[in-house]
Symmetry: C2
Subunit: 298 residues, 2 copies
């Protein structure tokens, strides 16, 4: 199964509401309010988190994956509906711990839980959140607003998701493993920066290279990345190490394009949008070939 192909072939043709933007973005605008957006994400045990992850971190990851989508559109998270398909083998103490992690992050990000569903399952723990967001501008900042010449900026550091997954699988109780389990999503202030400075924006969740190309594709242009400038979790001058970090998923940072001359405090400038289509990578001024797999295609 290739999720993106199936969505394009079977689901996208069903979608014609203007607020859905042809499913080309991570959020939809609700018809009831031009400034209210909604996003939905599902996490499945052993696919999106490890069965061995402490259960309280799973609730936090669920919230943060969705918060990341909302902030990257220049909006503040507002409300959540939560579906829990809970395995019969996981008991009440685990449920309580799960809810505690959830509660911590609902409070931290000022999100109101307003409804949902709880069912039991013989399968893996399966969690879905629908989260609404209140846009700080007139609507969400789309992936598609970019133009050649605009500068590309990224929040935080790139690569923690990939490094952390390796650490978590190998059983290391490291900072990286913790960052994989509970992504260090940016603060709510990021929404204001996106709303007021970005022409195009999205969150980096499937790897920097892949997501940068997606933003450029949606904007009808190309993208140049200066690899020396990318703020890596584990800085390196070795191409293989750089690629590993830039092609891993689960970073949950914001990637935005802004007009030249615009400063984006707290973000790092890593390249620009170009006339010529596709992704071009530069290291110390030299063009280097992109890896064959740009990111986590799911």
């Amino acid at each position: 199964m290739n999720e993106i192909d199936w969505i394009q072939s079977y689901i996208a043709p069903l979608v014609d509401a203007p607020g859905a933007d042809g499913l080309r973005d991570d959020v939809a605008v609700l018809s009831a309010s031009a400034t209210t957006i909604a996003t939905m994400d599902t996490l499945v045990e052993s696919v999106h988190f490890l069965a061995t992850d402490p259960i309280e971190t799973v609730g936090q990851k669920l919230i943060r994956v969705n918060v990341s989508d909302i902030l990257a559109k220049g909006a503040l998270p507002s409300e959540a509906l939560l579906s829990i398909a809970w395995p019969r083998a996981r008991g009440e103490a685990e449920f309580k711990a799960f809810v505690q992690g959830l509660q911590r992050d609902l409070r931290h990000f000022k999100i109101a839980l307003i409804g949902g569903d709880l069912v039991s399952t013989d399968g893996p723990l399966t969690l879905t959140i629908t989260m609404t967001g209140a846009c700080l501008g007139e609507g969400p900042i789309r992936r598609s607003g970019g133009q050649p010449g605009q500068k590309l900026w990224v929040s935080g550091e790139i690569g923690w998701g990939g490094l952390g997954l390796q650490a978590a699988i190998s059983g290391e109780d490291s900072e990286a493993a913790n960052r994989y389990r509970v992504p260090s999503t940016m603060s709510l202030e990021v929404a204001g920066l996106v709303a007021h400075k970005a022409a195009a924006s999205m969150d980096v969740s499937d790897g920097l290279f892949l997501d940068a190309k997606r933003l450029a594709d949606a904007s009808g242009c190309g993208v140049r990345l200066d690899l020396d400038a990318v703020p890596l979790a584990k800085p390196s001058a070795i191409l293989e190490d750089i690629f590993k970090q830039c092609c891993a998923g689960d970073d949950y940072q914001v990637l935005l394009a802004a007009a030249p001359g615009v400063d984006v405090p707290g973000f790092t400038q890593i390249g620009e949008l170009t006339e010529s289509a596709g992704l071009s990578l530069y290291l110390q001024g030299w063009r280097v070939n992109a890896p064959s797999t740009l990111g986590f295609e799911h």
Copy 2:
């Protein structure tokens, strides 16, 4: 696991947004618009539908379970976000058929699909919809608006869900089995009747007895049901047969309370709300004891 206990013990304490109404109802009001409601339901293979059910009916059931919640609040369904956790063993042809069933009902109920998520799973097919609704009045008709003396009305017929499940399990290709798979949800006109005539309303999804008692409890009163008046799928004067149909789930009809003298076209009057708390049942004028299990407690 007892879902209702866990929700009350662990989830409800997290909920303080006024629109959520303490999770006492089937829908929440979004903060962005007082007349926009949202509901979320999850269906799990082998729990909420049979693994052998034709896959196109599963998409329809998913839509109808949610439409039922929206209509029962006096609102028209508006938008849907859909999460699909698709088993690796089910192939592309099945996915296509699933989407066709979905599309049929999205069109039928005039619902715009605006987003969602598609992931693969090693577990059972797990489907979640978040559906928004546009209230025809100033807000949703709650379960809690009932008062003693108001008459109780129900749409359609009661018992098809339970009869149909038996038929579907036994492999009968009967009308009842089809009605279990694709509940014959009422027409969109029901929303207007609820909005303009009902003081309290909810959908009957866990059995008439249990849901009638829930409506009465939420309204701080009791309920009297006249069993002769209940429009049964399979009419019977035998108490056991009546009980079986009135305690089965999956009916997806509307139960509403309206002031005496108000007529509700297309609905059947089946009793009234009472001063004294609890559920009291009458057959041909005689009080009969309620069964020990009133419905599908999940």
